[in-house]
């Protein structure tokens, strides 16, 4: 295609402008990709905590599922719970074993104490609420129930990680907002950089453009190489930015993977990263199209 040849020739003639445009866009897309991945990751972490049982009430030893039914129904009738689940002693043991793995110390098999059995673990009622705001109401119902056991301090034995979830929600929101602000600022500076570079090129080639128009070239003929050039800068920047962010994640994997085990699988799968690349390239396409059009727009209106 001749238009691509023209575009490449224009880039070759001003290599330093091309390098600076690509460098700015690489930084934009590097930070953009990192923030997109962090925002996505924090969303997954939040979801993970939100979908886990949020309120756990430990029950007295004599409580059976039948005895528990009225309390269960009372909780469900509030319409503020997602799930109310009875966990028996044997299920509790299974969960415990799964969480400690094969550690013989925690399983009690090599200590003087006898091995951990179902008897020493309490049955419980695990409740997921539809919104963390409903915690107090649900906890209040549980506190008033005689079926819930009391702890050594004489208080009802109820666990609910309200603070953790609220804190996490606040962090996620802050992260998203901060990331978004930064990305908008970087996008703005990228648009400005491309627009200035393309405008400089147009200014430099004003004679050529006016001659082309005098020879009967329409606006699209004149503008296309410049818009393509702008898109090419964005694409290259997006590709490098994506590549560097992928490398950064691979580099950070040994540190992050054990801390996020069970929540996020690290490093991200190649398919997921490919999807991120497609997203980055689409953004680059829009960015290049917008910046290029902005730069050539005012010249197109001339005869």
């Amino acid at each position: 295609m001749k238009v691509i040849k023209t575009t490449l020739r224009q880039i070759r003639r001003t290599p330093y402008q091309a390098i600076s445009a690509i460098a700015v866009l690489t930084v934009t897309f590097f930070v953009g990709t990192i923030f997109a991945l962090v925002a996505f990751g924090s969303q997954v972490i939040l979801k993970h905590f939100e979908t886990r049982p949020q309120v756990i009430a430990y029950l007295k030893d004599e409580v059976t599922p039948e005895i528990l039914n009225p309390l269960k129904n009372q909780l469900e009738s509030t319409n503020k719970t997602e799930e109310v689940r009875f966990v028996s002693k044997s299920e509790a043991l299974a969960i415990y074993k799964e969480s400690v793995g094969d550690d013989p110390l925690l399983l009690g098999t090599i200590t003087d104490l006898s091995a951990v059995t179902a008897d020493i673990l309490p049955a419980s009622l695990e409740i997921s609420v539809t919104n963390p705001e409903y915690f107090p109401e649900i906890v209040e119902i549980l506190k008033n129930s005689d079926l819930v056991d009391t702890n050594s301090r004489g208080e009802k034995d109820i666990d609910f990680p309200q603070d953790v979830v609220s804190e996490l929600t606040a962090w996620t929101k802050g992260l998203r907002l901060g990331g978004l602000t930064l990305i908008i600022a970087l996008l703005f500076s990228s648009i400005l950089t491309i627009t200035i570079i393309i405008s400089m090129k147009i200014g430099h080639r004003r004679f050529e453009i006016s001659t082309l128009k005098l020879l009967g070239a329409n606006n699209s003929y004149v503008a296309t190489p410049y818009i393509l050039e702008s898109i090419l800068y964005s694409f290259t920047g997006a590709l490098f930015g994506w590549l560097f962010s992928y490398i950064a994640f691979l580099y950070a994997t040994p540190f992050l993977a054990p801390r996020l085990a069970g929540i996020i699988t690290l490093p991200p799968s190649p398919l997921f990263m490919f999807e991120v690349l497609i997203g980055a390239l689409l953004t680059a396409l829009l960015l290049g199209l917008f910046s290029g059009s902005l730069a050539v727009g005012r010249f197109l209106s001339r005869r």
């Binding site: 001749k2 003639r13 004679f207 050529e208 001659t211 082309l212 128009k213 005098l214 020879l215 009967g216 070239a217 329409n218 003929y221 005869r303």
Partner: protein
């Protein structure tokens, strides 16, 4: 084919360059527009090319009033007209080949057809060996021939040639004149703006003389109404005055744009 009806052009500076000009040019005709510098020759060509709009009057090409053309339709009009510019307007960082092929590329013509056509044009203008040279490597006469080749590359119905022999020596001037006659013989309507009596005589075509923005005569032969016969010294003085007037006219045109 081309009709100018009561055309007046006044620039923003208040200078009236053309006043109530009436002109009819038939298809395939060769018309020489002559007159002293600043008489409105270039303005007349630019009006036909819709590089300028008249202040008053209408310009009709093939039955279409081009004064009413929208901006978007201008490229389409220009694709039927070739323009050999007085200052050549050859793009300096493109080769002769690339410059000539520009008009064809604008029309999105295929590479093979462009190659054949450019080769033919280079032969026609006598530059077959200069295809891959850059404008800086050519003489004025060669540049003018490139400009003409580019203007006729797309086989336009009309060729406007603005002082194509402006700064050329006699031999180059005659070559250009011959070339224009040859192009006209293919059926292209040629409008040549010149104040070179030698060219007017050589071309032997209908001659229109402009003076102070008005048509002084519209003869059907090669006799301009003002045919200055001056000695060389006087010609030299006139040339300097003309150059000054040219720059004044160009600056007026720029202001108007």
């Amino acid at each position: 084919m081309i009709t100018l009806d009561q055309v007046t052009k006044t620039f923003l500076t208040g200078d009236t360059v053309l006043e109530d000009v009436n002109l009819d040019i038939k298809p395939g005709e060769f018309v020489v527009v002559t007159g002293p510098s600043g008489s409105g020759k270039t303005t007349l060509l630019r009006l036909i090319y819709k590089d300028l709009d008249p202040t008053k009057g209408t310009i009709t090409i093939n039955g279409q009033d081009i004064t009413k053309l929208s901006k978007k339709a201008i490229p389409q009009l220009r694709r039927h007209i070739g323009y050999a510019f007085q200052d050549f307007k050859i793009i300096p960082d493109r080769t002769v080949w690339e410059n000539i092929s520009l008009t064809l590329d604008i029309l999105r013509i295929g590479d093979k057809a462009i190659n054949d056509r450019v080769k033919h044009l280079l032969d026609l203008v006598g530059l077959p060996t200069k295809a891959h040279l850059f404008p800086g490597q050519l003489s004025g006469g060669e540049l003018q021939r490139v400009s003409i080749a580019r203007a006729i590359a797309h086989e336009p119905d009309i060729l406007l040639a603005d002082e194509p022999t402006g700064n050329l020596d006699q031999e180059a001037t005659y070559k250009i004149a011959e070339l224009l006659k040859q192009i006209n013989s293919f059926g292209t309507t040629v409008i040549l703006a010149t104040h070179d009596p030698g060219v007017i005589k050589k071309i032997n075509a209908r001659c229109i003389t402009l003076e102070n923005g008005k048509i002084k005569n519209g003869s059907s032969n090669n006799q301009p109404s003002v045919s200055p016969k001056k000695d060389d010294k006087q010609k030299h003085t006139d040339k300097s005055t003309e150059n000054k007037k040219d720059s004044q006219e160009k600056s007026k045109l720029k202001q108007d744009k």
